[in-house]
């Protein structure tokens, strides 16, 4: 009964979505207030219906109703309740339902938070989101219905993929989807602006906080995925340039470009049509990412059974969304108009450089991701493009970007003077150069790459510090607190996010430069020295979990003879699937991790004898994800900026004040 209610709610949601997509759009063209007014309640109704359907599916998983095919395929009565709930979005169908839930949620949020938006703009924004929702609901109902029954019911379900039975995986998809889907708001704002022909600084101000929110969620989602791969796959890597990772990274790159381009559009009224184009590309890449990953084109933990009708539907949907919006852009972008000019050295030009570099970087990732797929589809042979390609292309593109990051916030709008920039940044540059040349000696080994990586990070930190100090010194308020309070939340958000990049670079540089990896065979009682640590293997003992059994090793870790930690890596076999899993043991610290994963027994004595294992020392590895969290936090802080919440009349007053 419950699954049927959910199915029915989805069908109703589709009808509401059609109304939300079509009627307000007509209303906005005809200036018909009654038709436009449909958008808001329709968005709310659609959200409630989809949330109800999602609840029904979650209920089926929670009660382990194996008469629902999806539940029988992705859950098991031994699976703990929290993972059964997480399994709701652990499948193709369920994750698409989550996608639609997020989409309707964002639309509802827009309708609630934008009471001062012009009626026609709001109607168009919600209508565009409604149309996207129509596409997804059609896809769900016709090719990927999550509520299909299995008659007769299965006595027991197959299990959730053991790799996904993990807290990180419970929140990774919702965060990532919040990001992906969040770009639909920026996309809808752009399409609405193209349709309405009105695109100005206020438009940028309205769409900015939404873009920032989406970008922040996406940053968290990507970081969680990377962290999960690090501790769950047992290989100690944090980024593999795998196509599924690239699929989420491309929208992030374009989203980052969009954030910066929106800043220029809001402050200076320039880059307008470019901003619109970026918003369209960011959302298109989100769609492409969702589909690449979920359709089975790319094989990975994310991909599910392939079904040709799905592939065709996806291609058609992508063609309509991307082709349609780009055509609209081609026709209407001219009407959007240009903006104020700027000098070759100015904040605008630096942000333009930022945008060019990010877009080129994204294009190179896209090429490396899609090229093997094209060759394969055209039967021209099978190739793979691995990390060396991406490293070779990406690092040289990002290095100048990071360097300019130190200069950009210091430079003035419209025209900046090089001598002035030099005066303001020379100390920061000196500190960064000297420290980065000396620091590797203190850390153990000097190499040009380590010094260069540290230079970029320290340069960003020093230049940002210089910016903060000069800003505080110049502000007229008396007292430090008043000076601090005089700056906007958006400014502090920017500072924090830039520092996040620096922290991230420190993590990447030091873990690449100083990590130690050893594959070894250890017999119980044996001690091996890796880096500064002595690892003593104390054998394995059997373990039994709720839905798995296996062995846990005990490895004592000593430094200078003192016991620091007993690491207990596990080797599990999951009951339902019979799938083996390596559960690494990680001793996490501020300055790095010690990481041990268990291979298999290699002597004739079986599990009581010698085991193969892998030991890593990973200096500063957690800074990688810490940096991502700082970036996301910066985004969330920037969103709270007062100027995004001003009422229209206050805003007009503020603008008049600024103009005076």
């Amino acid at each position: 009964m419950i699954p049927e209610l959910g199915h029915f709610a989805l069908i109703l949601a589709l009808l509401v979505a059609i109304a939300q997509g079509v009627l307000p759009m007509i209303g906005a063209q005809r200036r018909d207030a009654a038709l436009m007014a449909i958008a808001r309640p329709a968005a709310h109704a659609q959200f409630l219906l989809v949330a109800f359907a999602f609840g029904c599916l979650a209920w089926s998983f929670a009660t382990a109703d194996f008469s629902v095919e999806l539940v029988a395929q992705h859950a098991n009565s031994q699976l703990p309740l929290h993972y059964r709930l997480a399994a709701t979005w652990g499948s193709h169908e369920g994750s698409l339902l989550l996608w639609v839930l997020m989409l309707t949620g964002w639309a509802t949020a827009v309708s609630l938070r934008s009471r001062n938006l012009p009626a026609a703009l709001l109607a168009r924004v919600l209508a565009v989101m409604g149309l996207v929702s129509v596409g997804f609901l059609l896809f769900l109902l016709f090719t990927s219905n999550p509520f299909l029954r299995l008659i007769p019911a299965a006595p027991e379900g197959r299990d959730l993929n053991p790799l996904l039975q993990d807290p990180g995986m419970v929140i990774h998809p919702p965060m990532l989807y919040m990001g992906y889907v969040g770009f639909s708001v920026a996309f809808a704002f752009s399409i609405a602006a193209l349709l309405g022909g009105k695109l100005d600084a206020t438009w940028a101000r309205w769409s900015r906080p939404w873009t920032t929110a989406a970008w922040s969620f996406l940053s968290i989602g990507i970081a969680l995925g990377s962290w999960w791969a690090y501790y769950e796959l047992g290989w100690g890597g944090w980024w593999f340039w795998d196509p599924v990772e690239n699929a989420s990274f491309m929208p992030w790159l374009i989203g980052t470009a969009l954030l910066h381009s929106l800043a220029v559009t809001e402050k200076r009224g320039t880059f307008k049509s470019w901003t619109v184009l970026l918003a369209i590309i960011a959302f298109s890449l989100s769609l492409l990412g969702t589909f690449l990953v979920r359709s089975g084109v790319l094989t990975s933990v994310h991909a599910f059974a392939t079904d040709p009708t799905r592939g065709v539907f996806i291609l058609v949907f992508l063609a309509i969304v991307i082709g349609g919006s780009l055509t609209l852009y081609a026709v209407r972008a001219g009407a959007v108009g240009g903006g104020a000019g700027f000098a070759p050295v100015s904040r605008e030009s630096l942000l333009l450089a930022n945008n060019v570099l990010l877009v080129v970087a994204c294009a190179s990732v896209l090429l490396g991701t899609l090229y093997p797929l094209f060759l394969d589809a055209l039967n021209l042979g099978k190739i793979s493009v691995g990390p060396p390609y991406f490293d070779a292309v990406f690092v040289p593109l990002m290095a100048p970007l990071v360097f300019l990051m130190g200069v950009g916030p210091v430079a003035s709008w419209r025209r900046a003077e090089l001598p002035d920039l030099w005066t303001r940044l020379r100390w920061a540059l000196a500190v960064a150069v000297v420290t980065s040349l000396l620091l590797p000696f203190a850390l153990g080994r000097w190499s040009p790459l380590i010094a260069f990586g540290l230079f970029l990070a320290l340069w960003v930190i020093a230049a940002t510090a210089a910016l903060v100090i000069q800003r505080l010194r110049q502000s007229p308020q008396p007292g430090l607190f008043a000076k601090l309070a005089a700056n906007s939340a958006a400014w502090y958000g920017m500072i924090l996010a830039h520092l996040g990049i620096a922290v991230f670079i420190i993590g990447v540089t030091l873990v690449k430069g100083y990590e130690i990896e050893q594959n070894l065979t250890m017999t119980p009682g044996q001690t091996v020295r890796v880096g500064d640590y002595d690892f003593t293997f104390r054998g394995v003992t059997p373990v039994n979990g709720p839905n798995y059994s296996g062995f846990a090793g005990a490895i004592e870790m000593r430094r200078d003879g003192k016991l620091r930690e007993v690491l207990r890596p596990e080797k599990r076999i999951y009951n339902a699937s019979g799938m083996p899993m390596t559960e690494a043991a990680i001793d996490t610290g501020f300055f790095g991790d010690r990481y041990v994963s268990l291979g298999e027994p290699v002597s004739e004595k079986g599990h009581e004898g010698a085991w193969v294992m892998r030991v890593y020392i990973k200096p500063f590895v957690d800074w990688i994800w810490g940096g991502c969290l700082l970036m996301a936090l910066g985004g969330f802080i920037a969103m709270t900026d007062r100027r995004y919440r001003l009422k229209v009349k206050d805003r007009i007053a503020a603008m008049a004040g600024a103009a005076a």
Binding site: G341, P344, V356, S364, I383, V385, G386, V393
Partner: protein, 154 residues
């Protein structure tokens, strides 16, 4: 600077950045593309010597051997027509099993053994790496052809 000159400067800068990017991409592409070869292609000496490539197929039953008290393993990758011996040093992925599909990256030694630097982990036990499936398909097609020619020849 006049507006027109400025525009030219911008376009010039843009073209320069793009040029550098394209150069980087092409260079990296050329040196880092990893091609895939089936065991049959390796046996026919189509695979490059000394340059990394990938092979795929099934791990032959009973072929997995470990050197005692070390992390060195040897196994045989087969597409049911030809066999390629592989040596690897390190932990094998969880889902590595005899009789199951596998993809390995490495290079061919002069002794005809494939020295793997990476044995690819897959995320699902039922899943056959597409390259491995492709290799077996090709080999079986090849056999089909040769069988039929045998039948037709007098």
């Amino acid at each position: 600077m006049k507006a027109r000159h400025r525009r030219f400067a911008w376009i010039g800068a843009g073209v320069a950045v793009l040029g550098v990017a394209v150069a980087l991409v092409l260079n990296a592409f050329q040196s880092n593309l990893v091609f895939f070869f089936t065991p049959t292609q390796v046996a026919q000496k189509e695979a490059p010597q000394g340059r990394p490539f990938r092979i795929g197929g099934l791990v032959e039953e009973g072929s997995l051997k470990r050197t005692p008290n070390s992390v060195d393993v040897t196994f045989v990758v087969t597409d049911t027509a030809q066999r390629v011996p592989v040596v690897y040093s390190g932990l094998l992925p969880d889902l590595f099993k005899e009789g199951k599909g596998v993809v390995a990256q490495g290079s061919l030694g002069s002794d005809g053994k494939f020295r793997a630097t990476e044995v690819l982990a897959k995320h699902d036990e039922n899943y056959m790496p597409p390259e491995a499936a492709h290799a077996i398909d090709q080999a079986q097609k090849g056999q089909g052809v040769s069988l039929s020619t045998l039948k037709e020849s007098p």
